[in-house]
Symmetry: D2
Subunit: 136 residues, 4 copies
Amino acid sequence: MPTRTELEVFLATEFPQSDFLIESLEPEQITLRKPVSFADLRPGGTVSGPTMMALADCALYVAILARIGIVPLAVTTSLSFNFMRKPLSEADLLATCNLLKLGRSLAVGEVQLYSEGDERAVAHAVGTYSIPPQSD
Amino acid sequence: MPTRTELEVFLATEFPQSDFLIESLEPEQITLRKPVSFADLRPGGTVSGPTMMALADCALYVAILARIGIVPLAVTTSLSFNFMRKPLSEADLLATCNLLKLGRSLAVGEVQLYSEGDERAVAHAVGTYSIPPQSD
Amino acid sequence: MPTRTELEVFLATEFPQSDFLIESLEPEQITLRKPVSFADLRPGGTVSGPTMMALADCALYVAILARIGIVPLAVTTSLSFNFMRKPLSEADLLATCNLLKLGRSLAVGEVQLYSEGDERAVAHAVGTYSIPPQSD
Amino acid sequence: MPTRTELEVFLATEFPQSDFLIESLEPEQITLRKPVSFADLRPGGTVSGPTMMALADCALYVAILARIGIVPLAVTTSLSFNFMRKPLSEADLLATCNLLKLGRSLAVGEVQLYSEGDERAVAHAVGTYSIPPQSD
């Protein structure tokens, strides 16, 4: 399985526009961090929905790759979000992903998004990834 | 109700990072355009999922504001996506939104995303917006 | 492809508890009918959410089988619903399904649910089905 | 707040067709049980999707009522499901609901469905309920 460094290199290559960091990496759960800066805020001083969606999508992807190896062809097939609270404007966003299923061709995971320092989730996501057939 | 120009000014103010354009604006249906450039592409030459999600979210928002007036406090409460085909790399993305419900406190809409020139949807979204109580 | 009679026989066998009828069957769109009787109503005189969910799931299934043939192993992998209005208590429910994608291994469709006689959708569903590999 | 008995009486009145039981009731988490009998099975010996959807919807409803009191006007506004594994045919279904948000007008919860005796979730649901304004 890929090391944390290998995943970080992959992230930086595959998502050069993003600045997501791997906060923790365990077999059952991974957490990404999104450093929040002024450029990420919308009028009103909150992190935008698309930033949260991009972070959740990436957390799910990293959680799967951490288990199956770096398979760039895995693709998101569905993502659903509930937005529950306004993120804090002066705190980083954290996204914790748990895989609910890791099958041969389909993975399902859920993601909780938090503002650092407040344990109540600001958003919740569930997503599915299609995993291409592996040559054995 | 707001004019197209008023909506465009609002978009440019509220979403300064985005470059979405109002392609058409009718009472029952609105379409946004996302000009796709090299910077929007992921390795493999396709538009990223987060770009599609941001465009769908914005299309739903504009469709609601075009009907209720510019109410900046309307907030997305849920969004769900199905990603069906790889967008073309050399075509703009179009997002067409139809409102399914426009109630006093909740609006529901669906969005089809296309690559210009190919009528098959690349992604489909359904979203809900919470509308704040209006002072009469 | 299966005839309408073959699909009706399949429905009656596969879903013996349901009383859903095929209202119309076209290549791009199918409609099911749920005759609503007193037993289907909840206190308050409305059709229950689970009845609507079962009807939408079945409509998606029939839409797929009508295109790929009767493949009992196709399984729902995801379904998402928005409930928008209270169905009428004295009208049948109609569910109209359009397929958004029919790929080799995954189908995606959307369903609009109506009370007969009122064109505004009471609920909207999007679902995905996994299609087993076909032996050629 | 309602007692377990009050909730059970309410369930039996509001959902007379269902046979769901309250398995456990804690402030942060409630679990419902669906006794599975032959009549609940589909060809192939598995519990039907609509049975799982009805159970998840009900679990979310009970979790909310346990916190806000018995408010029959609370209504489901959205529900999304991922179906991950085939339930066992000879085991009861259990649905455990955690509330992610309990606001004044909107509640969000997630539900994990299990076959008793197997800790891997067979399905996962996320739903939102609209809560009517309370007269104080």
